[in-house]
């Protein structure tokens, strides 16, 4: 715990008004600095993040994140589970972007197996990943606005998110933990009438984005709280490994969907939003514009959906159809072997990055043969983005730390794993 109660006389204010934006911690007499423990139960820390803040008045001299409260040893658990059992673990990492986690993991395994994924499955994967990105950004928008003091936005954002969760539920049966993407394709095809429901969502969503802009973007209080706050230059952002919207808010045009396309992203027409201002506002604008782009991608994916298989033709890896299992002996044997023994994955190692809703989500898998991985490591974008917080927050006001955390869009489930 921090050294509480080392504050000077109540009401004391720093006389030095020209404090440089970045400065080193210096040994000062105890009455001018105070250490404050923020979190782990503070609502703006989005879960169980604890920050140890060294303050000079209201100015943050040093911020030290303390993480690990949610650590459940997921990476260890992967080594004791068969490849297909690992998918459900990935759901629980970044629980706002479970389908993105599913995709990163299954694509890494598919790379080791050198599996070809049918076109329809690839298209549905893209469709769901973009819906998930919108859903994740909506949670970010709602909570970010609450942190800054705008309560209403939360309800509007969660209303739209609910529609997406309903779509995910219709296809996979799960809302937060879908486990919909499987090694070799999808769990099953989307239900009848799914296309119309997506279309309905797409028709209404632009109006919702307009509402968000009316509620938030034009709000002078929100602008004052975000513009010029939490500056990180492009060079620093790259050096600190920031990824995704947080990096693009600093003017760096990097998006894994463009730089290392996967699941046929290279065939979609979309823009990568980039903002030059390097502050909380810029990161806000990038995410708001990304929702529009995701909307475009979902519409394109929907128009491409042609009937076809959603599972790869690999009977020893992909579970057979229920009907085939009841009529074909070999399908039944394959089913039994996959479930009881798993399938062997050739020895090798891969690092597969995708563009998750929060940035580069990379999965490193090392296989030494056999049905279980030797090592699975997740490069969680939240983990890396949070590591830059001490750099961004030092020299800012304590109330702005809340805005900065919100602008980094962290999920503790992924940070602690």
């Amino acid at each position: 715990m921090g050294q509480m109660g080392q504050m000077g006389p109540i009401g004391r204010m720093s006389t030095d008004v020209n404090i440089p934006p970045q400065f080193e911690v210096v040994d000062q007499p105890l009455d001018t600095q105070m250490t404050l423990s923020m979190g782990p139960q503070h609502p703006s820390t989005h879960g169980v993040l604890r920050l140890e803040l060294v303050l000079d008045g209201e100015m943050v001299v040093k911020a030290t994140p303390d993480i690990g409260y949610l650590h459940t040893g997921m990476e260890k658990l992967f080594e004791y589970r068969k490849y297909q059992q690992g998918i459900v673990i990935t759901d629980r990492m970044d629980y706002l972007n479970p389908l993105g986690n599913n995709l990163a993991y299954v694509m890494a395994v598919e790379k080791l197996l050198q599996l070809e994924i049918p076109e329809r499955a690839q298209t549905i994967r893209v469709l769901f990943c973009e819906l998930q990105r919108i859903a994740s950004h909506l949670v970010w928008l709602g909570t970010h606005a609450i942190d800054i003091g705008a309560m209403t936005v939360f309800f509007y954002a969660f209303r739209e998110r609910e529609k997406i969760l309903n779509l995910i539920e219709a296809a996979s049966g799960g809302r937060l933990t879908p486990s919909y993407f499987r090694i070799g394709g999808l769990m099953m095809d989307v239900p009848a009438g799914f296309e119309n429901r997506v279309k309905q969502f797409l028709d209404n969503f632009p109006q919702a984005v307009k509402e968000f802009h009316t509620l938030v973007s034009g709000n002078r209080i929100f602008q004052k709280r975000t513009q010029g706050i939490g500056y990180i230059s492009a060079e620093d952002a790259i050096d600190w490994g920031l990824a995704g919207p947080s990096l693009r808010g600093s003017g760096v045009n990097v998006d894994v969907r463009r730089t290392n396309p996967y699941s046929s992203y290279e065939t979609y027409d979309f823009e990568v939003p980039v903002e030059q201002d390097c502050d909380v506002w810029a990161r806000y604008m990038v995410r708001m514009r990304e929702m529009d782009e995701s909307h475009k991608i979902v519409a394109q994916a929907l128009s491409r959906l042609k009937p076809g298989p959603v599972k790869a033709d690999a009977p020893k890896v992909v579970l057979p159809d229920r009907e085939a299992m009841k009529t074909h002996m070999d399908a039944l044997i394959h089913h039994f072997l996959i479930v009881a023994e798993g399938f062997d994955v050739p020895a090798g190692e891969v690092y597969h990055p995708i563009e998750g809703s929060k940035g580069e989500l990379g999965v490193y898998i090392k296989s030494i043969g056999g049905p279980k991985p030797a090592r699975v490591h997740f490069r969680g974008p939240s983990f890396v983005n949070l590591s830059a917080l001490p750099h961004i927050a030092s020299g800012e006001m304590i109330a702005d730390v809340v805005a900065i955390i919100g602008s980094l869009d962290i999920v503790l489930g992924e940070i602690d794993r």
């Binding site: 993480i67 690990g68 650590h71 040893g73 990476e75 260890k76 658990l77 004791y80 790379k111 080791l112 197996l113 050198q114 599996l115 070809e116 790259i238 050096d239 600190w240 490994g241 760096v252 990097v254 730089t259 290392n260 033709d313 690999a314 020893k316 890896v317 072997l337 023994e341 399938f343 062997d344 994955v345 050739p346 020895a347 090798g348 190692e349 891969v350 690092y351 990055p353 580069e360 990379g362 490193y364 090392k366 043969g369 056999g370 030797a374 090592r375 490591h377 490069r379 983990f383 890396v384 590591s387 830059a388 750099h391 602690d416 794993r417």
Partner: protein
């Protein structure tokens, strides 16, 4: 139960057309700069892995970061791997590099013996390595020399052992207690 052939699942494991034939430009550049920086180059599944001797990793990284045409200015990931207590060398540290300008990737790998788990920190090359190295220290016990703040990060400070080592049991040695 018939034994399964590890390769049987994959549809005819084809080697990528250029695997093994075109040497990686990154490896060539590294080798040209310093012959002893490259122990082995592995090209598989469309990815390049360069095994770098432990004592040269920081120098090789800072060369790759600035070398014209390579510009690996982004450390995407850094993670450890334990091959198991009977293997020698036992530990691997993987560095996944990315270039935000050239958009290419490469993996550097350092092999470490169990009785000498020291490797130079790359925090002076990319500051993002800070937390990655703390995580690798926490979970594997690899010591990154000259790291500014090498503490445990995910597990409690008084945790015994390193949880991702192969000889660490899945459920730990005993129930964790705050006593």
């Amino acid at each position: 139960m018939e034994p399964q052939n590890p390769q049987a699942n994959a549809p005819e494991a084809e080697t990528a057309p250029d695997a093994g034939t075109t040497p990686s430009p990154t490896a060539t550049a590294l080798q040209r700069e310093h012959q002893e920086w490259v122990v082995e180059v592995v090209q598989a599944l469309g990815e390049t892995t360069i095994i770098v001797p432990r004592e040269h990793i920081a120098a090789a990284c800072s060369f790759l970061k600035t070398a014209p045409g390579l510009e690996f200015n982004f450390l995407a990931d850094l993670c450890g791997f334990d091959r198991g207590p009977e293997e020698e060398p036992r530990f691997e540290v993987n560095y996944h590099l990315f270039s935000t300008t050239k958009h290419h990737r490469v993996r550097l790998k350092v092999l470490l013996d169990e009785n000498d788990l020291h490797v130079a920190s790359v925090t002076s090359v990319w500051r993002t390595a800070n937390w990655h190295e703390r995580e690798t220290y926490d979970l594997f016990g690899v010591i990154f020399d000259e790291h500014p703040d090498l503490r445990r990060i995910l597990l409690p400070d008084d945790w015994q052992g390193h949880a991702l080592r192969k000889d660490f049991p899945l459920r730990g040695y005993e129930p964790y207690s705050l006593e």
